[in-house]
Symmetry: C2
Subunit: 258 residues, 2 copies
């Protein structure tokens, strides 16, 4: 039984605690109020023509001062489910309380956090950049958007958050191939061209205009607002997502050029 710790005062307590836990486990008795589980999330938005992720500078040890995905411990007094934790964290960091949210994968192991065996449940969130109200001052945390292409070189993540992010990014790219997910990255009203651009940014490749429009329109998930987006050149029809038309699955994936 190895216990390495800097806080010497707790060492003796820990030893006893470990055996108590072991004992309790053997008798199938558990009623702890602090599950050793965290939720970490990859919150995506499209800003300045780039897919960006929200990262937070850690204010506490371990990895103090390093960038990490937003997240934290499940709070059993506040959260009834894991989803509650995810929504709470999303709200804390972005001010957004309704958005696309999806559980992606859980990462657990002895090596991923210096504090020992831990589990994190990774979530994917998509929000419109319009909705963001970054609460920089609120918790005096440094919060910022980083283009996904800059991750790894310009910004390095603590713990195994690079793997967590990779899983979330992979899920996003995968789903975009055969669903209408990207509508969740746009404001309520948008043009088809804006939607197509969003697809292209996520897939990092161009999409054929006619095919794209047919696909989306035939799916019958959008409705015209009646308004037009005016600005430069020919105005474009504005669309919004039909009620309950949120997540449509297509029979074929969005292919690239032959």
């Amino acid at each position: 039984m190895t216990i390495s710790r800097s806080i010497s005062a707790t060492v003796s307590l820990m030893a006893k605690q470990l055996t108590e836990k072991q004992f309790l486990k053997n008798y199938n008795v558990h009623d702890f109020d602090v599950p050793l589980v965290t939720v970490d999330m990859a919150i995506f938005t499209v800003k300045e023509g780039k897919l960006q992720v929200l990262v937070v500078k850690r204010a506490q040890h371990p990895a103090k001062g390093k960038w990490a995905l937003p997240g934290g411990f499940v709070d059993m007094t506040l959260d009834k489910t894991l989803n509650d934790t995810a929504y709470r964290k999303l709200k804390e960091k972005t001010g957004v309380d309704t958005s696309y949210l999806e559980q992606v994968e859980s990462f657990g192991g002895a090596g991923r956090d210096p504090r020992g065996w831990s589990v994190t449940v990774a979530y994917l969130a998509l929000i419109s950049s319009d909705d963001i109200v970054l609460s920089k001052d609120e918790s005096s945390e440094d919060v910022t958007w980083v283009p996904i292409e800059d991750m790894g070189e310009k910004v390095e993540l603590a713990f195994d958050h690079d793997a967590v992010l990779k899983a979330c990014h992979g899920r996003l790219k995968g789903k975009v191939q055969y669903t209408s997910l990207p509508v969740n990255l746009l404001p309520a009203d948008f043009t088809l061209t804006e939607l197509q651009k969003t697809f292209e940014i996520i897939l990092d490749k161009s999409v054929e205009k006619k095919s794209f429009r047919r696909r989306i329109l035939d799916a019958d998930i959008l409705e015209e607002t009646g308004e037009m987006k005016t600005g430069s050149n020919r105005p474009a029809k504005l669309y919004r997502v039909k009620p309950e038309g949120e997540s449509h699955f297509f029979a074929r994936s969005l292919e690239g050029p032959r």
Copy 2:
């Protein structure tokens, strides 16, 4: 370090322990060896023309005597990752140590287990019924296969395992639409008709023969063994999965008849 204590004697310790944990959490110090996390799995096989799931009769409280999905606590002394736990559990229950294994979803909440807030990481496993060596006596647990269609009426699951199973079954059905997953439910060598039947059993609908064969063969994931399956009527070519041809994704989903 002795672990000899009666359950009643631990009650008072429980209160202190909670505060110790709270203390530790506040200082971001965690080094417990018993994460309050379980892994539960839906182990599928196809037997007697039916998709079946492995269930275990619980030998201990809570839900003693009720059926449940196989699973259990992460053992930090044995498991380096969550996948290790899953593989260990799979081996314990079926004797199989290599098979298709995939993490599906995590379920966490205050209400899912009477012992309190808990998290389970659900896994999906596919094994060939040939490989099974049920270890009934080993842990004196009652272990049995149940056709998925009998779940709910003939067999009820403890905790929220019905939801866990539903998620795993849903994942399986979803993936079978556009991958070659079912090869993992067959023995090493099989005929195309056997593979097609497996698809049909999982999807619970018939699949067009020619379309199916084209799809699989064009994907170039199988190779002929050179042997023929003889038995009744015209013998059929035997195939096996090419090395690294395990999980092929198709551009289009497997549709039913129009």
